[in-house]
Symmetry: C2
Subunit: 333 residues, 2 copies
Amino acid sequence: MDKKIIFDLLNSDGGETLAILAAKKFAHENPNYKLLLVGNQESINNIFKNNLPENIEIVHSPKLLHKTDNPREILREESSMLSAFNLLKEDKGSAILSSGDSGSFLTLSALKVNRISGVLRPSFMPIMPSTNGGHFLLTDVGANVDVKPEYLVEWAKIAVEYHKLFFKTEGKQKLAILNIGTEDYKGPEVSREANKMLMESKNSFDYIGFIEPRDIIDGKADIVISDGYAGNIFLKTMESSFLAFGKMLKSAIHKNIITKIGGLLLKKPLKAIKNKFDYHTVGGAFIIGPNKVVVKAHGSSDELAFYSALKQIKRALDENIIEKVERAIKGDE
Amino acid sequence: MDKKIIFDLLNSDGGETLAILAAKKFAHENPNYKLLLVGNQESINNIFKNNLPENIEIVHSPKLLHKTDNPREILREESSMLSAFNLLKEDKGSAILSSGDSGSFLTLSALKVNRISGVLRPSFMPIMPSTNGGHFLLTDVGANVDVKPEYLVEWAKIAVEYHKLFFKTEGKQKLAILNIGTEDYKGPEVSREANKMLMESKNSFDYIGFIEPRDIIDGKADIVISDGYAGNIFLKTMESSFLAFGKMLKSAIHKNIITKIGGLLLKKPLKAIKNKFDYHTVGGAFIIGPNKVVVKAHGSSDELAFYSALKQIKRALDENIIEKVERAIKGDE
């Protein structure tokens, strides 16, 4: 049976065209994959010039999501994101991709998608770049502010399956818990308890204990587990700091003709740094725990970013990630 | 009466000499201030060539602090930091400065110094640089992992007094609570409750609500309040990210002869960025809440950093910060 991905085309910062172009490219390259494009039928037809490939279906749902904190409003007001999740609920596909508001995306995922049997709480998991040129998985980054030690342990097990999927590293994954110090007695009780549980359990991964922001940024762990509060603060601080530094550097280069020449001479290695931290090639952030593949693309995704996310989803489906997670969770019941 | 500062010379990364040179300069410029230097008598005499100024006293206590998490060990094992705190407890001075381990410093401060009447919990408060060239106060950054809403409100009031002291800005201080979103319903219950309390109370400052990392880094608030968990994660992530970016930039410049020339042409504006984030001129981090002036200098302080911290302490004493905090706390009882 062909695999189907439901793709909410609207709600990205850059408009729907980039999403449609990415879908076109992906559909062309992967004839055994079906795409269910949710958005404005006219815009889609314009791009395909009424010559829609066989493996693309359109679901006309042209309304943008109205950002709100109220789950009832998200469910009541028509939007392409809501339509996409309804299609997923009706089993019209086995994966969903959207670049809309994270909060609404998390809410709809919680309300419209069942959890894998045995999973306590879904968690949000982006792929983060580190300064050594590699990547690490970070979870949770905002779905769960209040957590229990069991959640952290569960996310550790699930994240390991995703790490195998994306990076296929040889040997065991280095997994750590984000904390304000590396000593066992540091940090919130929940983290200390989870640390103890992971220390004492037999793991399929290499549990390296607590980790501080510096070592995460330097890429000392493959997977970092956290409550959604500290994880979100870490994620946003790291992203904002790099962005702020980049801006300062740019304005330093634009200062005068001398500095502009300096910037030109440094262009190549500076570009290499920028590429290292480019999320466009990385794909989206996964929600781990639902029994479908649920992926949130960056709000400012371009064609490449959407395309990378689709490829990432394909990989997750081809490798049966949901079944693998099910087995990993069951393994210790 | 002359004011006395107790100065633990040992326990810094760079050795005692830089601390002694800073003390020498400060003592020379401030004859009405007494310094009680705690460290190795011989080293101190070597630098002063047995010609000690009248306003310097030496307390011979040559043992380095042995870093430990056990408060009993910190209290039992002889160290210059312990000696310094004992002198403070015996009222031999009204301020203390040390660059030793933060954890031990916090422990000794809690055990050896009384709190200002009415203060619930002392809190750790560094002065942080922002990308707009200014600074903001951030508290707590690690003294209190578990907090109550009342603590956050109390730290807000105290921090405002310190901000007036250091920056004397016209108008009201912009004060915010660190969070994972700006909406009232976001984040941990403690933060939401403190947010409500500050919204509803009549404040001497301008309470601007929740703030996210990006806006903090950009300098949108003068004072940022947080529990010690998220505050510590934010602080370390920001510091480590800038450091990591700086390192990558340095290695980009050192790549080859072309990039080296590029680096030379950019030297001046890059230096300006570096200066903006230079902690050496900023001084130390205050513990707010004790009824003495308690300041922790950076572990890798040089002469300028120690000297800046001493000047900062002088200002705090000259302006009677402890009394001002007392009044601010009493004001709403």
